[in-house]
Amino acid sequence: MLRHPLPTLLTSACLAALLPHAALAADPIKIGVIAEAQAVAGSSIAPAAQLAADEINAKGGVNGRKIEVVVYDNHSSAAESVRAFQRAVNEDKVNAVIASYISEVVLALEPWAARLKTVMITPGAASDVITQNIAKDYEHNKYTFHGYLTSSALAGLVCDAGKDLLVDGSKMKSAVIVSEDAAWTTPLDAGYEQCLPKIGLKVLDHIRFSPDTTDFTPIFNKIEGEKPDVMITGISHVGTQPTVQWKSQQVPIAMFGISSQATNSTFWKDTNGATDGVLYQAVSGPGVAVTAKTLPFVDAFQKKYGNLPSYAGYTAYDDVYIIADAARRAGSTDSDKLVEAMEKTDYVGTIGRVAFKPKGDPNVHGLKTGNGYITGLMLQWQDGKQVNVWPKNLASGKMKFPAFIKVQ
């Protein structure tokens, strides 16, 4: 009978229910990490969180309590993430959850964070809907925090960089917006449409392509026919494919904007170098000391795991500190108190100064951006390396393009 999985499960559940759960002072603070181990962006989340926890524990923990990280692989599936979330909260009794870089997953988890009243923060999802949901029903959804930039915020940061690099630096005047046809790009594109004309780039066209596009030639040919100075991109799921065809077709127009996969250190290898010259927005980059904490983190990560963290690695690392900081200030891991303390966060992490937008903002619990807060970077792939070209004070190189690109 025991070979049957159900009784086994029941037995284990039974045992679990019998164990005492009263929170002792020396109980560790448990942080659940639900992430995508097979995706490059997601695979750094758990190790980075563990690194932060180890550092905090080495310094004596939080109010005498150690931080414990419990990791769940979600196979990039929303349904599996929901199950993992329930397991984390009900079974493993975690105090907070750091979850995923995929918007679909975070949105599926949001109602569960509300139901199970557990603080959840995403280190990498970009959809504006996450914070909009909080604004819609604050009391209910206040447990969710957006630890990365929303799409509309990203659009603003891309425009900021564009003004300096493209308009002022390269005298560009026109652009075509190219983005994958997806829900996360809707606010991004709206943001682009709004801010590009303001910085002096005329939007000639706006192309959305199907994420399962098997041939980008038609798209590039159409854009080329419109003779823009630059392509402003919004690509995430299909990063490799357009990059490879951009190179093989030698499209003479620069790519500038969001290209999530380009932030991966393996992107050069994955594309066989086709990414040379691609400009992409990021909150961090190798060798870029955004803050005093950035490079020590990268070094420690590389020393421990042998590779470089993905963008979600930086934020996941910060998120552990932010949760620990909030728990210290709240003096408790009670979810409501934790939320209150999290809202008062003012913490300088690896990507900049982190503070959450207050109640009343349409993107409540989203990160504050712009001067004094997070400004982001603009990096460019140059000869196999990710080189930061913006902002000036953090730049380690100058923007330059492969021969096939025509810049005035």
Binding site: F209, D212, T213, T217, N221, T240, Q249, N264
Partner: protein
């Protein structure tokens, strides 16, 4: 100029589809098997080629050959692990073999793609292209790789044609697809024919996968869509009809390309799906299938 662009792009992508579908339809024609691990084998070959070039430092040709070797090995394994045991199993009723083989190859495909994701992550990988640069004809700049892809596809299909129509062993294959019993009566072992077909299939699927990897890049996410597109093209052309599949591949390739150019890249795949539904409804045996 637009027409020329559509002509070239549709041809390249159609050739790629054609090559992918040819192997799929060949297996169906000769042994009646719909191999739902098709996409996984294509992706495995491409990822193997990428790994050989990127991680082991092999040149583009060596990497491509290595990828083909892996793909052929996997195809053979597919036959021995999933297809043959079910075909020979006395415990599965004849009428149910089809669903069992479908389920088994489906699971096998998932196993392969999970293994790829485990070993190499599910990031899209690009195979080192064998030819680089662009060719400008009639004012249209086209990647040389696109011509290369079309050429390799046609060389592979041509070689297959020569093999099947001009060699003794190949003719036995063709004969087996028309009448397996007749082949047995002539003293030719069907099991060897099936093995040979899976080997040939392995080569075709691997070449298609590697070319796709050079053209666009592949990841374990591509597994499902690749199988589905081969399946659709093959049914559109008529199951088991190689020439039907070839024509259907170009129909789909051109339809997608034309949609992307003339309507919007966001609706790229929809007209082809609609066409498929209409064909299913009006001509269930496919455009060129015989009943």
């Amino acid at each position: 100029m637009l027409a020329w662009q559509i002509l070239i792009d549709g041809f390249a992508i159609g050739s790629l589809y054609a090559l992918g579908a040819t192997g799929f339809t060949l297996i169906f024609g000769v042994s009646g098997v719909l191999n739902l691990s098709h996409g996984a084998i294509m992706v495995a070959a491409a990822v193997a080629a990428w790994a050989l070039a990127g991680l082991a430092g092999a040149g583009p040709w060596a990497a491509a050959l290595g990828g083909i070797a892996i793909g052929v090995a996997l195809a053979t394994l597919t036959y021995f692990v999933t297809v043959r045991p079910i075909q020979r199993s006395p415990r599965v009723a004849e009428a149910e073999k089809e669903i069992f083989i479908l389920t088994a190859t489906l699971l096998w495909g998932i196993i392969i793609s999970e293994a790829i994701a485990y070993l190499f992550t599910n990031n899209a990988k690009t195979v080192l292209p064998i030819v680089e640069g662009v060719v400008g004809w009639f004012g249209v700049r086209t990647p040389a790789n696109e011509y290369f892809t079309a050429a390799v596809c046609w060389i592979a299909i041509g070689l297959l044609w020569l093999l099947v129509n001009r060699t003794r062993h190949g003719k036995a294959l063709l004969a087996a697809s028309m009448n397996p019993r007749g082949v047995t009566l002539l003293g030719i072992e069907l099991s060897r024919i099936h093995l040979a077909v899976w080997l040939i299939y392995g080569v075709l699927a691997s070449v298609a996968g590697i070319l796709l990897g050079m053209f666009l890049g592949v990841s374990s996410y591509s597994v499902g869509p690749l199988t589905a597109s081969a399946f659709s093209i093959v049914v559109l052309g008529g199951l088991g009809s190689v020439s039907g599949s070839l024509i259907a591949a170009y129909v789909v390739g051109y339809l997608e390309t034309a949609t992307a150019y003339l309507i919007s890249p966001a609706y790229r795949t929809i007209p082809a799906l609609l066409l498929l539904v209409v064909v299913m409804y009006l001509r269930p045996q496919g455009l060129f299938g015989r009943r």
